[in-house]
Amino acid sequence: QQPVQSPQAVILREGEDAVINCSSSKALYSVHWYRQKHGEAPVFLMILLKGGEQKGHDKISASFNEKKQQSSLYLTASQLSYSGTYFCGTPWEGTSYGKLTFGQGTILTVHP
């Protein structure tokens, strides 16, 4: 079952904040976040593990609510380099790793 991301697209000015959500209908053991720039491969940002702490990567952080089966990616004081498509990926049921099912993606555009 593919996780559902929202919103589908976000347009920001430099310095603004954004939140991208990822929800699943099945129990989650982890959530993986990736960013893909146009014409490039997806780049691993971070993984949120069940029972783990909120993670951070520069000014990008994420949370994982196991009960609600959802994760949120927070982009603070966005930079032009943050532009791209963000995907959340959820592993096969009962694992924290391995093959992933990806959400449909959220297109983030940051303008000067």
Partner: protein, 115 residues
Amino acid sequence: SAVISQKPSRDICQRGTSLTIQCQVDSQVTMMFWYRQQPGQSLTLIATANQGSEATYESGFVIDKFPISRPNLTFSTLTVSNMSPEDSSIYLCSVDPGTGAYEQYFGPGTRLTVT
């Protein structure tokens, strides 16, 4: 992390032909995956290719259409057989380095256009 290369980076093929995509990793990895990304879409898992065992295919993908080889722990190939325009996509391999951090790394992808 793992450094992954893919060949070719792009190709234009005629329908009915086959193309073999190579994926090379700079370190030994157990778990390797092949994904397809259709234009403007998300990533869809085609199969899992673990060394020493037959590839495991996801629903909608069959071995006759997408045969996979995994001869060793650093290399894999995916063949797209009897191509049609619907096969036009980006094909990516990814690996889990097995460090226990559960990270996955993607190759640069192969952009395939079928005419």
